[in-house]
Symmetry: C2
Subunit: 216 residues, 2 copies
DNA sequence: AGCACAATACTGACTGGTCAGTACTGTTTC
DNA sequence: GAAACAGTACTGACCAGTCAGTATTGTGCT
């Protein structure tokens, strides 16, 4: 059995456990037991409990970034890309529910962590934001996404909306459909040149996010 | 010194500390020290550390609800009410930054808590959501807010957007202005009868959130 | 007022349990 | 046979919660 297998086993167990309980409530003995691994093996792969936690909490970012870059390649209609990105993100969140829950619960705690963890964490998260922002940037270029808000801010909004929704949704069959609400909200809110009545708004035009349908 | 003073001292210290570190990293000794109170006094006011934490983490919900009901009374133009609500919420968040940070960081941990904490927490949070939803409901009645998404879902979205923004913003003088982006996004996304190009969308009309400007 | 006494609030040194991390032994794998 | 491992016993730091003792406040009496 390759070394990386053990590492993965441990991380999977940690992910599961950390998702269900608080950091201090999860013992390394428990992680070892669930991972079907000797306790010492954990310390063979991770310096300490903090690092195990950090690596586990962070892993999803990389995976999701890879997924986005793979499944939502550059080029093609922007509307489709955005939609596909949302599908991938929500799909990933559903697939890796435990990681997602864990990330949610512990995100803001990490900056309090000792040493360089805080920066490493932010860098990881920023990677995901950047991946989403890249897609949105293309939308801006195609006049489908409003240009007055920086793409990375919009990317954060989108992720925030998905997150909000995720908190409320059980893992029901209807859940995926309900994510459409998020996409819908976002597209209307972030679409280019939309008119509205909120304070500060000035424009009177409205664009379609897909950038190709001209029903208006 | 009245009993409530000590209690408040303790809660203030706890809020400050819990905002900066994880539950298990904050010792009751530290809370006592910061609160300038004997350790035993904590246990005179709170059953245990969990309860101290819960009460502290929860207090802001009530305060914010009271604030909303006071400063955003029923009646009046919906657009103004929504705007005022956002101002109040963001103002509160800025004022009670520590509580907000703490709430953010520990929210999802609470459901893992023993006993009835989980339900009590959700109930408290639901109170805030309901307060915001009530305001939005009026917007629906006035045709300013779309009716196809339940008000409480929209309320969650709004709170989520504010939250997302809060995470990114330092406490700069420009910060308050930047919240307008959230309000703007939300109003466009949640405004009644808006056309857009997102998947599943069908409508072609667009309304103004303020519900009193008739540019369309 | 001044005193006695009770009730309540408070303090902080102490304790008992918990758990991260280590050490060691015997086993499997390559 | 050596490297990785499971299993387990061990240890030392750490910390939530306790409790015996002290301070403060309230009350009734003279």
């Amino acid at each position: 059995m390759a070394k990386t297998d053990k590492r993965r086993q441990i991380m999977q167990a940690a992910e599961k456990l950390f998702a269900a309980g608080r950091f201090h409530e999860i013992t390394t003995d428990e992680v070892a037991r669930v991972a079907r691994v000797g306790k010492g093996t954990i310390y063979r792969h991770f310096r300490d409990k903090e690092e195990l936690f950090f690596e586990t909490a962070t892993s999803g970012f990389d995976e999701l970034c890879d997924l986005l870059r793979e499944k939502v390649p550059t080029g093609g209609a922007f509307g489709e890309r955005l939609h596909e990105a949302c599908v991938q993100i929500t799909g990933f969140v559903r697939l890796r529910r435990e990681w997602f829950g864990m990330r949610q619960s512990q995100e803001r705690l990490l900056p309090c962590m000792a040493g360089g963890f805080s920066k490493r964490w932010l860098a990881k998260r920023q990677g995901l934001v950047a991946a989403v922002a890249d897609i949105l940037r293309e939308g801006v270029a195609q006049k489908a996404i409003r240009a007055d808000i920086p793409p990375d801010v919009l990317a954060n909004f989108l992720l925030g909306l998905l997150r909000t929704r995720e908190r409320d949704l059980a893992d029901t069959p209807a859940a995926l459909r309900k994510y459409q609400v998020v996409v819908d909200m976002f597209c209307r809110g972030a679409g280019a040149a939309g008119g509205h009545g909120s304070p500060g708004g000035k424009r009177g035009r409205r664009g379609r996010v897909s950038g190709k349908d001209s029903a208006r």
